[in-house]
């Protein structure tokens, strides 16, 4: 919301001396146009978000044209292609459905990824406004906004992602590593051993190199 304009300004101030920096011994100074062309990424705090906006209905049209062939009209996914909507409340189930709505912690990731890497096979073809609209439609499909909603740089950080608190930093060093770092048993470690599962029962392995 109000945080990132200051950040952008701060970054502009910080990088200002760079343009005047002495040429390196190897390589050269990157020009501002070059950095702008490649530096498209967005952060959870909104850093990097460009001006622009898009609403759900515009997003629906764009999604239908550019995305629905693989992801389905409502983000439900076609065949093996990723589901983008649904699955909320399933993360502790046997087969969790991980979508933007059920799993992704930050909206910035959706905007960033759609803008830089989608549509699959025609990446970098969406404008900023188109990306705002498609992300608005994805929020709508995940029941997170109503159909009147318009997403913009101004209200971007107001959107609450259901699984924002669902992640914790790798704790193996304090949980698993100590538990697995004891001198191991070498002899008479257990009484019985029985086979409980066979891969050949499933029979999903390719047979030979012609498969």
């Amino acid at each position: 919301m109000s945080r990132f304009p200051e950040l952008l300004l701060l970054t502009a101030l910080l990088s200002a001396p760079a343009a005047a920096a002495e040429a390196p011994r190897i390589g050269r100074i990157a020009l501002p146009e070059e950095v702008a062309a490649w530096d498209l990424d967005i952060r959870p705090d909104g850093f990097g978000l460009p001006e622009g906006s898009g609403d759900v209905l515009t997003g629906e049209e764009l999604f239908s044209e550019r995305c629905a062939l693989c992801h389905g009209e409502f983000g439900e996914g076609v065949d093996n292609w990723p589901k983008l909507a649904g699955g909320q409340g399933t993360l502790d189930h046997d087969d969790p459905q991980k979508t933007i709505g059920s799993y992704w912690p930050y909206l910035s990731t959706a905007w960033d990824y759609v803008h830089r890497a989608m549509p699959f096979g025609d990446a970098r073809s969406l404008t900023s406004d188109e990306t705002y609209a498609i992300v608005a439609y994805l929020l709508y499909n995940n029941d997170l906004v109503d159909e009147e909603f318009t997403l913009s740089r101004e209200n971007f950080l107001e959107v609450e992602m259901p699984n924002a608190d669902g992640f914790f930093v790798d704790d193996r060093a304090t949980t698993e590593v100590p538990a697995f770092s004891h001198p191991p048993c070498m002899t008479d470690c257990k009484q019985e051993v029985e086979i409980t599962m066979h891969a050949t029962v499933l029979d999903v392995t390719p047979d030979d190199t012609t498969d």
Partner: protein, 420 residues
Amino acid sequence: MTDTTKKGTTRRGFLAGAAAGGALAATAARAGGPDPLITEVQPWAQSLGDGVDATPYGMPIHFESHVVRRNVEWLTADTISSVNFTPIHELDGTITPQGCAFERHHAGAIELAKPDWRLMIHGLVERPLVFTYDDLIRFPRENHTYFLECAANGGMEWAGAQLNGCQFTHGMIHNMEYTGIPLRTLLAEAGVKPEGKWVLMEGADASSMSRSIPIGKALDDVLVAFKANGEALRKEHGYPVRLVVPGWEGNMWVKWLRRVEVGDQPWEHREETSKYTDTMADGRSRRWTWEMDAKSIITSPSPQAPITHGPGPTVISGLAWSGRGSIREVHVSLDGGKNWQQARLSGASHDKALHRFYFEFDWNGSELLLQSRAVDSTGYVQPTKEQLRSFRGVNSVYHNNGIHTWWVKTNGEAENVEIS
């Protein structure tokens, strides 16, 4: 000449047959009669082979045509954002031949010529820089051998035994000697500002593959590599330049590297939120699970490499590795983990690299439940799958380093099984 050719074809046919039925060949050798491969003059001992200009860049001999990367069609929606598998059941030693080293792409293997390659370093640096390939190779170089293991290697096996062969259960891995420039050298050229705590690495392909790496790792052992196993990187492995992130999950080894941005926070991009996060039984998920823990696998015998010679002297061969250091010991069990014996480590021992182990024994022809267990230089002991599941449940997708079991039957065939 015609006679010789015919004879050669016949001999090759015989050899192929013998290779397919190793037990048969062993029996024939014991039969007592003179071996015609010795008593008759063979065509290769008489006529001439290929000239030195026949193969400017060679491929393996056609008898080895089964030693190739394999795809498992049902795993992914298409072959572009997909993975294939290294034939580790047929390899030995530790260096993976590049031509059969596994691939994992998110938008296909792109063709990027050296003259078209650019690397940009920007963000919280004193001076944003652009390097060409010719610039890059003027920096002081280092050579290191490291494993690259996909975070999802073995991921299909979390809920139980699925794929029958170590190529499929453990083959999202390769091990190469890399030549490259330490990332810290390039970052020093740009001058990282004190508030620069994270580095974003991005690839030049359409997936814009990007990951956040803490500055400590970036300044430690990360390499910007341009050669592997002595030659240029293969196209599918990031030609002309890729990132090497020793010990850490393969996804972070950004290929076709084009951009390094220094920032004060992680970016939390798609490949570190939606993907490469590990969901626990309670529905919460670990993020930033970068290190690949100590792991091992018996590559032979295995489902694709059965015992064909019958009872008697038998070689167990396998691989062990750890993202947290080198391998101190490998233990082998013939009885499903009731009893363990020390395996023999062979060859070079490098940090965060594959190690080859062997265990020689006299097989009496009875059933075996083969397992291997790695111990790394930190004292971490490779856990069982049950131990891992007790911490994580079965939905974490990534980072399965559990002990694997092969059931060897009395006929020498092996199967992927789970045991109690």
